[in-house]
């Protein structure tokens, strides 16, 4: 299978002498569903930011679908759901407005949304179970519903690569299950390459094909079943915050 994301010998530091990631080699094939786990500060978010070209590595190279990530030419095919604390506005904005903003790269910068784009937005809203709340203010919704709106925004872009950073943080169990069903369907029907960053994978454990543990570098990369049993213990050094 062609490679969607490739990191080769990647190192990254925010300050000299304090590396966040060292010597990372990772190749994610198109259509894979990869879970990225690790402790807080271990470099998970940095890894996906590098993969998306949002940050440049201090050493090594990062490629997206064969092109250097920071110069990737088909960005409209990328979907990203950042940690909830990093997204959103305090102003009045409806679910439909949030999801519509996910069609911007496809529909063009100028003018209103076309009919086809509006239909895709409606479908994405329905997919996450928010059809009845499409015109509700985001601020009036629960944390889980708000997160589902941002996930619908990423879906509306019809991505080839979907990156979700802690999508279930602070989300109720019902929303977690709805998200898992949705991701499973997206993966099965459209073969979307997915990087799912989280502390825990209870909701999506049936979909995850490959687990990557990050702690300053990649300390495990393989099928979840191959994870040494000691590492399932939250007190283990690789799992601990």
């Amino acid at each position: 299978m062609p490679v969607a994301v490739e990191l080769a010998g990647v190192g990254f530091s925010y300050r000299p002498g304090q590396p966040v990631l060292t010597d990372v080699d990772l190749a994610v094939e198109e259509g894979e569903f990869v879970a990225v786990a690790g402790p807080n500060g271990g470099g998970k978010t940095t890894l996906v930011r590098l993969a998306l070209g949002l940050a440049r590595p201090s050493s090594g190279s990062v490629r997206l679908f064969g092109e250097p990530a920071h110069r990737f030419s088909c960005r409209e095919t990328l979907g990203y759901v950042a940690q909830r604390a990093q997204v959103g506005t305090q102003g009045p904005v409806t679910v439909r407005e949030v999801v519509s903003s996910g069609r911007l790269a496809q529909g063009g910068l100028f003018g209103p949304l076309r009919r086809r784009d509006r239909a895709i937005v409606d479908d994405a809203i329905a997919d996450v179970g928010l059809a009845d709340l499409a015109d509700a203010r985001l601020g009036d919704l629960s944390g889980g519903q708000q997160q589902r709106a941002f996930i619908a925004k990423a879906f509306a872009g019809e991505p080839s690569l979907l990156v979700l950073d802690e999508p279930t943080a602070g989300v109720d169990a019902e929303s977690q299950e709805a998200l898992a069903r949705l991701l499973g369907r997206l993966h099965a029907d459209r073969g979307v390459t997915t990087l799912y960053v989280s502390h825990e994978f209870g909701a999506v454990e049936g979909i995850v094909e490959r687990l990557v543990l990050v702690r300053g570098g990649i300390v495990f990369d393989g099928p979840p079943q191959a994870l040494p049993s000691a590492w399932h213990d939250p007190s283990h050094a690789h799992a601990r915050d």
């Binding site: 088909c74 409209e76 979907g79 759901v81 009045p92 519509s100 903003s101 911007l104 910068l109 100028f110």
Partner: protein, 266 residues
């Protein structure tokens, strides 16, 4: 009131300013940059003083200084050369100090300069009106055309970057429009108060708006109403227009807050 030419000019200029200032201010407020207008206003003050010193139109030099200042703040912020409030402080104090030094050198620390600081309905000329209409309508058209893109950056800047939206260029555009708005509005509202017309209608609209687009349109309506009512009060009560306009915009916040409270109880 409208039989006098200076009032017709003030109303025509005010119509453009009343719509443009909240439209641009909306995108500053939503990105927690409400005070940028204040910093840029102080740079515009240095531009006015430079105009007096150089013997050219203070409106033109203020426009240039305001746009340069606004784009400078965005550059410092986006390149992480300074935190947002530090970038603002740099511009704020440098602008006011340069303005005082330049105005003093030009021997212009007088009543004319005060009319730029607090606004004056007597100072708008036909040439100023043409400039305001051309630049103001261009600014409003740009916001209309790029509304979805500007909104996408407000909603999720990082997600927009990932999807290939030209976020940096759009942020510079908003900064440039903020500079133009301040340069165009200073005669009516005054350099020291123009930032309020960019921010207060947006905050007032946010109390009762049901969506982002309704918030922008309501803010523009409140801005326009505040300018027209403020100019009228200014004419009949012989008050500086800037103060009257801003006080009316502030009262709009009280009205919409009361409406929101009533709605919450219903």
């Amino acid at each position: 009131m409208l039989e006098t030419e200076f009032m017709r000019l003030a109303f025509a200029t005010g119509a453009v300013v009343g719509l443009l200032a909240p439209a641009v201010g909306f995108f500053l407020v939503q990105r927690n940059m409400s005070l940028v207008g204040d910093g840029v206003g102080h740079t515009a003050f240095a531009g006015v003083a430079a105009g007096y010193l150089l013997g050219v139109s203070p409106v033109l030099t203020a426009l240039v200084a305001a746009v340069a200042g606004a784009v400078g703040i965005e550059w410092l912020r986006s390149r992480h050369r300074a935190a947002g409030d530090q970038a603002l402080a740099l511009l704020f104090y440098t602008g006011i100090a340069a303005g005082v030094v330049l105005a003093s050198s030009a021997g212009a620390l007088d009543v004319d300069l005060f009319s730029f600081l607090f606004g004056s309905i007597l100072t708008v000329t036909r040439g100023d009106l043409v400039l305001v209409v051309v630049l103001g309508v261009t600014g409003l058209a740009l916001i209309g055309l790029l509304y979805r893109a500007l909104a996408a950056v407000v909603i999720d800047e990082e997600g927009a970057k990932v999807a290939g939206v030209p976020v940096a260029a759009l942020n510079v555009l908003v900064a440039g429009l903020a500079g133009v708005t301040i340069g165009l509005s200073m005669q009516i509202v005054g350099i020291l108060l123009i930032a309020a017309l960019m921010v207060l209608p947006v905050i007032a609209a946010g109390r009762v708006a049901w969506s982002m687009s309704s918030s922008v349109l309501l803010a523009m309506g409140i801005g326009l109403a505040s300018v027209f009512a403020g100019l009228t009060v200014s004419y009949y009560a012989d008050l500086p227009p800037g103060g009257a306009i801003v006080l009316l915009a502030a009262s709009a916040f009280l009205v919409t807050s009361a409406l929101a409270a009533v709605r919450a109880r219903a």
